[in-house]
Symmetry: C2
DNA sequence: ATCAGACATCGATATCTGTCAATATCGATC
DNA sequence: GATCGATATTGACAGATATCGATGTCTGAT
């Protein structure tokens, strides 16, 4: 197997009960905060939303670049942040790179915050 | 009326459909990001969770201070951040200050992220 | 082989953030 | 009204972050 053995933050979220149910342990908080930090930027919020609402749930970087008034490296940086925490999957097809949203991850995070039982 | 006319971020969240449904507008992202930024810190996550899981949904600062290995001003700072975005309500009773979680706000935010219909 | 285009990485910089020590404020009590 | 205890505010500083221009690395086509 070629996959890394290190879990991305997103893979560790499903283990916690909702914020409002019981006090979050220190190590749990330390794993969840980076996920929220990745989301807590207006550009990244729009990027994620753009990707998610695309037809197949995935979008080409070429399209994303045009949607913002920012340089290409900046968009690339934001996509990397979202990818590193596991909120976006990355696929290269030919010259183009496609990012896709991890809906399960978003759902888990939403449940954690919103207090919905799982 | 003594209330400020300026809406806290939390009061503007309920107006957006889930992230995954349609692309987030620039101004919507700008209003939501500060909320997530407030949450995106391990200490604040634990603070919020601690307050939320208290009996009456509220907790005295005096109790919160003891739960962390941080200085009193630092805890005060974090509580202020959570209060300013509208995630925590603040009540002074005598010498003590109590913070309470805005569960509706958390629910809205969770739904926005998790993609649950409202 | 060379070239052009798509995307990532690097290096620099300005701004933001978490933390603390010191100090201020406010309410209760003596 | 002097004092004490509970929180908040201020000022300072180290570390993180968003952004850009320049450059690197692929990949497909000429």
């Amino acid at each position: 197997m070629s996959k890394s053995l290190v879990l991305t933050p997103v893979e560790t979220v499903a283990c916690c009960s909702p914020l409002t149910q019981e006090p979050l342990a220190e190590d749990q908080a330390a794993r969840i905060a980076p996920l929220l930090k990745a989301l807590a930027d207006p550009v990244r919020l729009r990027l994620l939303s753009l990707v998610a609402s695309h037809a197949d749930g995935e979008a080409c970087v070429c399209d994303l670049n045009d949607a913002f008034d920012l340089s290409q490296p900046t968009i690339s940086h934001h996509l990397k942040v979202l990818h590193e925490v596991g909120l976006l999957d990355r696929t290269k097809r030919g010259v183009w790179v496609y990012y896709a949203v991890r809906r399960d991850a978003l759902a888990d995070l939403g449940a954690l915050i919103g207090g919905v039982a799982r």
